[in-house]
């Protein structure tokens, strides 16, 4: 592995790492984090550490962004569900059956 390749990979790692910090939307950040993880893994391969690179890809590029995206999905739906509650009482919704614009009648099960 030539120094030139290693240098390029290090620069790419630094650039993607900066991109992770500068991405403010958490959903997009998870994707950028994944790309950064891949760059980091390639750098590890270049430094003859393929074992660590495999762990890095498994955890940093696949599992962590997946968990982050799932958590964001949960939070977004949760806030969307919570929002109309301030204006509609759940029992009102249950009575007039207006499901199109109001909160579903989950009876406060969600938290």
């Amino acid at each position: 592995m030539s120094d030139w390749t290693l240098g390029l990979l290090l620069v790419l790692t630094a650039v993607t790492a900066t991109a992770v910090v500068l991405t403010r939307n958490p959903g997009r950040q998870a994707m950028v984090l994944s790309a950064y993880g891949l760059m980091l893994a390639m750098t590890m391969v270049a430094l003859s550490a393929p074992d660590v690179a495999l762990s890095q890809i498994g955890v940093g590029t696949a599992a962590v962004p997946l968990i982050v995206v799932l958590a964001i999905a949960r939070c977004e739906r949760h806030t969307q569900r919570e929002a109309p509650r301030g204006t509609h009482r759940p029992e009102d919704d249950a009575r007039d059956g207006d499901r199109g614009r109001s909160a579903p009648d989950d009876g406060g099960r969600g938290r």
Partner: protein, 251 residues
């Protein structure tokens, strides 16, 4: 005021870290073919026990006890996550009537999921059982196996995934994997050499059955890590999907 103090403290800490770090780094042996006192001994010990992958020899043979600690850190983390996210199980069962699936996924992505699911599982299994020969091992293979399983969700839907991944089985497998690691270690005690000693026949370097206990420990870790990841992602997926249909449609 507080923000300035934070910046000041962080700056001071970073400065100390930079000075100490650079001082430590300039005295490191160079990368590549330079003889390294620890590396030379570790590689010799790995060859002595017929372990072709010297890294695996260090993590599972020479320093097997450290890895035991790491394995239980992961076990504790996974159990903690599953425990914290357990609350909405009742809700999930009520919502189970709805089919939640990635309905807006491109057909090409589905096809890729179908094609890659068996390939990924095969690669994961290969990485686990060849840990003592080639780069990889139980941890790496376990994560590949676990994340590969979730391609079923991408390719089909939640029900298909649920059938492929009965949580009870993985609950049991996670504990069993952790137990198996300790059991192999105790085997060393019974064989008279010591806890986590490489007490099985070492065999011939580079052969599938070589390196003594290392392949067994790799399989134990593969089962434990794979199950832990499956369970943790399952809990997160459950949380993401167990929202009444209406809210999901609005999203």
């Amino acid at each position: 005021m507080r923000a300035r103090l934070t910046v000041l403290l962080a700056g001071a800490a970073m400065l100390v870290l930079a000075v100490v770090g650079v001082r430590a780094l300039i005295h490191l042996p160079g990368a590549g073919d330079v003889a390294h006192p620890y590396g030379a001994r570790a590689v010799a010990a790995a060859f002595h026990h017929a372990t072709a992958n010297a890294v695996m020899s260090v993590t599972l043979d020479q320093r097997g006890f450290d890895t035991l600690g790491e394995e239980f850190v992961l076990l504790a983390a996974a159990v903690g996550t599953v425990l914290l996210l357990r609350e909405l199980t009742a809700e999930r069962e009520e919502e189970a009537a709805h089919t939640y699936g990635p309905e807006d996924v491109f057909e090409a992505v589905r096809l890729a999921g179908y094609v890659l699911l068996p390939v990924t599982l095969l690669v994961g299994g290969y990485v686990v059982v060849h840990g003592h020969l080639t780069p990889g091992g139980g941890f790496q293979g376990g994560t590949v196996l676990a994340t590969g399983l979730y391609l079923a969700y991408l390719a089909a839907d939640y029900r298909a995934l649920d059938r492929l991944r009965p949580p009870g089985v993985f609950d049991a497998a996670e504990g069993l994997g952790a137990f198996a690691y300790v059991a192999v270690g105790v085997g060393g005690l019974l064989a008279g050499s010591g806890f986590l000693a490489d007490w099985l026949p070492w065999g011939q370097l580079g052969k599938p059955l070589s390196a003594g206990t290392v392949p067994l420990l790799n399989i134990a870790i593969g089962i434990e890590v794979g199950s832990a990841f499956v369970l943790v992602v399952a809990k997160f997926l459950e949380q993401a999907l167990t929202v009444p249909e209406q809210a999901a449609e609005e999203g």
